[in-house]
Amino acid sequence: MVSRTSRYISALLSSALLLLPACPLLASTPPALPEEQLRTLPEGDLQGDSIVVNLDSTTVAEALGQKAEKKVHFINGFGVGVDFVGLVQKAIGADWAQMEVLARMNLKERFFVVFELGLGEADHEGRDLDNHFHVRSPYFRLGCDYNIRHKHPDGNRFFVGLRYAFSAYKYDLTSPTPITDPVWGTTQPFDLQGLSGNAHWGELVLGVETRLWSIIRLGWDMRFKLIITQKSHEVGVPWYIPGLGKQPDGIAWGGTFKLLFDI
C-alpha cells in the first residue's frame, strides 16, 4: 500500500512538472493605462471640425482599468478534436496504441461536456517466448471538464474533469509452439481467437489548453484511470484493454495531446 501510494504521488508530481510550460499561458491580463495618458489629446486645425474617435467598449473599459465583460452564452459553442499521442504510438510501432477523436459542448465557458470515441489496438509478443496477444476494438468515454480559468476568457483553459469509459473487445491469444502433455505425450496447438471481454472504468483528468489562432486550439492532459468492473474470458485477463491501456492491479495512467477546433 505504501509503495502504491508513493507511486501515485510521484505520478502527480510528474504531471505538475509537465504543466510547467503552460505557466506562461496562465499569466494575468496587463495593467490598465495610467490616467495621465488618457487626458492628452492631439491639437490640430480643428476649426470646427469634429474628431470622431471610434473606441469599442473593450478599449474604453481597459483604459479605465475595468475588465471588459464579454457576453457568455449558456451554450457557448462546440468543439471537435483529435488526439496525437495515439498517432505517434502507431507511427513508431509501439506494442499498443489508441487513436481517438472528441466532440464537446461549451457551457458558459465553465463546463465542457465531452464525448470521446477511439480505437485501441495492441499487437504484443511475449519476452523470451513466442506467445502473442492481439486486440483491436473501439471504446468510448463520456464526461465533463471544468475550466478553472473561466473568469479569464483569454483563450487559455485549465481543466479538471471526470470520465466514464467503456469498451467491449475481442482478443486473441496464440502461440506457434504447441503445448505438449509431459505424461501422455499428446500435443495440441495454442490458438485462441475471439475471446470476449468488456470493461467499465473511470478517469480523473487534469489538463491545459490554449488558443493558437482563431478557432484552432492545442491542449494536453494527464489521466488517472481506475477500473470499475471488468469481465474477461476464463483463459486470462487481456494484456491491454482498448482505451484503458495496460492495467496491472486495475489502474492505469494515460494522457492526450489534442488539436481542437472550436466551431
Partner: protein
C-alpha cells in the same frame, strides 16, 4: 493577437505536447512482467482416516500418514506418476492436459509385500490459462466428479474443484482403518 503573442503561446504548447507524446511512448515502453514463481499445476491429495461418529457421519479432517509404500500409476499411458511414497500425509500428482477423465491406480504395499489396489476416475474440464504473454501457458482443470473402487479407500471427497498452481488440497482420500 500579435505575432509575438502567437509564438509566445505556441512554443510552450508545442513543448508540452512533445513531452506528452514522449510520456505516451514511455508508458508504452514500460513493461513489468510478474510471472508466478510457483507455476506447477498438480492435483493435491490428502490422506485421512475413515472414522464415523455415533450417528454414522464421517468424521472429517482426521489426517493420517501412511506407513505403507504407495505407488500411483496413470492408466492409459501406464505411467508411474508417484513412486515408492512412504510416511506421507498426501501426494501431489500431475493431471493430463487434454483427457476428460484421468484413471489413476493407487497401490499400497505393506511390510509383508501384500498389495492393495484401488482405482480412481477423475472427470474434469480442461482450460488454458495464461498470466502474461511473457509467461508460459498452463493448463488448468475443473473437477466435475470423482468415483473410486473401495478395497482400501472408503470415501473420496472433492474439497477444491479448481486444479491450478495454488497448491490447495483438491481431494481427501479416506482410507479404511482396521479395527
Amino acid at each position: 493577437m500579435s505575432k509575438k503573442g502567437t509564438s509566445y503561446r505556441l512554443l510552450p504548447s508545442i513543448a508540452g505536447g512533445v513531452m506528452a507524446c514522449v510520456l505516451g511512448v514511455a508508458l508504452c515502453a514500460c513493461e513489468s512482467v510478474s510471472c508466478p514463481l510457483n507455476n506447477t499445476v498438480e492435483s493435491v491429495y490428502g490422506f485421512y482416516a475413515a472414522l464415523y461418529d455415533d450417528n454414522g457421519q464421517l468424521v472429517k479432517d482426521q489426517g493420517i500418514s501412511i506407513g505403507d509404500t504407495l505407488n500411483v500409476t496413470l492408466l492409459g499411458p501406464d505411467s508411474i506418476i508417484a513412486n515408492r511414497v512412504t510416511n506421507q500425509s498426501g501426494v501431489n500428482l500431475p493431471v493430463s492436459f487434454y483427457e476428460d477423465t484421468d484413471v489413476i491406480e493407487f497401490a499400497l504395499t505393506d511390510t509383508l509385500s501384500r498389495v492393495g489396489r484401488d482405482t480412481l476416475w477423475i472427470h474434469k474440464r480442461n482450460t488454458h490459462h495464461w498470466d502474461d504473454p511473457s509467461c508460459p501457458v498452463h493448463m488448468w482443470h475443473q473437477v466435475l466428479g470423482v468415483r473410486s473402487t473401495h478395497h482400501l479407500i472408503d470415501t473420496v471427497l472433492v474439497t477444491n474443484p479448481q486444479i491450478n498452481y495454488d497448491g490447495l488440497e483438491n481431494f481427501q482420500i479416506y482410507f479404511r482403518i482396521a479395527e
